[in-house]
């Protein structure tokens, strides 16, 4: 077999489309099989008849252009380029066509996949934010950050802190007597207001149990005015309830106890975990709360000094508290001057 024959066969069998056109006349001189398959209306011996955005004679000076060809049901994306050549004194245009469908298909697949992954990433981000929001409801941010970083939270002693414990008078009776939906929705509204008050005064709400609301100052970051901050929050809560009761049918009356001391804070539980605090200050606040009359705030006598400047403190009285024995306690209220302003 002659080299020429081999070349001719090769040109016929390659997957690149080749077509030779006479430059002067525009007549197709030769084309390989691949070209013929892609462009059925291109016939050897006839004038070039392929619809292109550019004239054939312009093609050699241009970048390759993209054309579509339909073979059976499949629309192919082809890249067409041309260059000039000369053969035995005849000027020719050699048209070369590559099938770039696979390339385009792969690009489309990557786009499609990237789109899916982007969407999934956004969903995960949203979920993460949601989880973070939920966790920040049950633990302070610094504890949450420790939890995220290390996967656990080491119990930590906080001292001194002040614990505020609030409980409603006759809640059980109210819940049983009225529509529980209304009662709970009102409780939710009140606790939300308490959350705002707490935040304003640097109190960290630790938890609510039924109608009991517990917040701590001086945790997780130490604060020298923890006692005053807790007392401020407490009088605001009472004031809020007083105002609310003037315009609402249900009269919500609370008792509050405030105690200074130490607590240990930790995440409790494995699957249903909550951040909680334990310690003498918590127990004391609970006992003091029980000593309050409705709409009263009870504090330990030991807190008098730190609160005297800003609040009215009643003379001390001695009571026996479970777990603490004889204890001096006092009633805390707003200074009259404050009350008048309010």
């Amino acid at each position: 077999m002659q080299l020429q024959d081999i070349s001719a066969r090769l040109i016929q069998s390659i997957s690149v489309g080749i077509c030779l056109v006479e430059a002067d006349t525009g007549v197709v001189i030769s084309q390989n099989e691949t070209f013929g398959t892609w462009f059925a209306n291109s016939v050897v011996g006839q004038v070039w008849d392929i619809d292109l955005p550019n004239a054939l004679s312009d093609l050699p000076s241009r970048q390759p252009i993209e054309v579509r060809a339909k073979v059976k049901r499949r629309t192919l994306i082809l890249e067409l380029s041309a260059h000039k050549a000369e053969h035995n004194g005849t000027q020719l245009i050699v048209v070369e066509v590559q099938n770039i469908s696979r390339l385009r298909e792969t690009e489309a697949m990557i786009d499609s996949y990237a789109d899916m992954v982007d969407r999934r990433t956004r969903e995960l981000e949203r979920e993460k934010t949601q989880v973070e929001k939920l966790l920040l409801n049950v633990m302070p941010r610094s504890v949450y950050e420790e939890y995220v970083t290390f996967g656990s939270v080491a119990p930590q002693l906080f001292e001194p802190v002040t614990v505020l414990m609030l409980d409603f008078v006759g809640f059980t009776k109210m819940a049983a007597a009225g529509d529980p939906n209304v009662t709970v929705s009102e409780l939710n509204e009140i606790f939300t207001a308490f959350d705002h008050i707490s935040e304003l005064h640097g109190c960290e709400r630790i938890k609510t149990i039924g109608d009991c609301y517990m917040a701590v100052t001086g945790l997780p970051h130490p604060a020298s005015d923890h006692a005053v901050s807790a007392a401020r929050a407490a009088v605001k809560m009472i004031r809020f309830l007083e105002r609310r009761n003037q315009t609402h049918e249900h009269k919500w009356r609370a008792r509050i106890g405030i105690a200074t001391g130490s607590v240990v804070g930790s995440v409790v539980g494995v699957q249903k975990y909550v951040y909680d605090v334990f310690g003498p200050a918590v127990n004391m606040a609970a006992r003091l709360q029980a000593q309050s009359e409705p709409m009263e705030i009870t504090v330990c006598e030991t807190m008098r000094d730190s609160l005297l400047d800003e609040f009215a403190i009643s003379p001390k009285r001695n009571v026996s508290l479970r777990g603490f024995g004889d204890t001096d306690i006092a009633r805390l209220s707003e200074h009259l001057a404050h009350q008048r302003v309010a």
Partner: protein, 126 residues
């Protein structure tokens, strides 16, 4: 209810068979076979390549537990205007089975995938 399939182990089949990297040629192969089929090829004729490939990629990701999920309602809406018959559905299932078998899917994974597709028959066939 999401049209994404349960898997045998803890990892989805999409990942087991190499993610997009591993399944790229399988997806293209499936697309070729579907287009060549005289029974269902016409559904895909004259559809823009990018759109068609997008469809096939998401289809694979969805049936193999990849990062795509289609709500049943969305599947039903997408096929409503196509007049898909049981013959068409059977043909696509057959092509999928052949493609996955040729790609080296083990029998159990193949069965799981096909039954996930089968479970959506009523949403797609009119």
């Amino acid at each position: 209810m999401l049209a994404h399939m349960e898997t045998t182990g803890s990892i989805p089949l999409f990942d087991k068979y190499g993610g997009l990297r591993g399944l790229r040629s399988v997806i293209i192969d499936f697309y070729d076979r579907v287009l060549d089929s005289d029974v269902v090829g016409h559904f895909f004729e004259d559809v823009d390549i990018a759109k068609l490939i997008d469809h096939q990629t998401k289809f694979f990701a969805a049936i193999l537990g990849g990062p795509a999920e289609f709500a049943d309602q969305r599947l039903a809406n997408a096929h409503r205007h196509l007049d898909v018959s049981h013959i068409h559905f059977d043909e696509v299932t057959r092509i999928l089975k052949d493609t996955l078998a040729d790609a080296g899917f083990v029998q159990n994974d193949l069965n799981l995938t096909l039954s996930a597709v089968e479970a959506r028959r009523s949403l797609i066939v009119r």
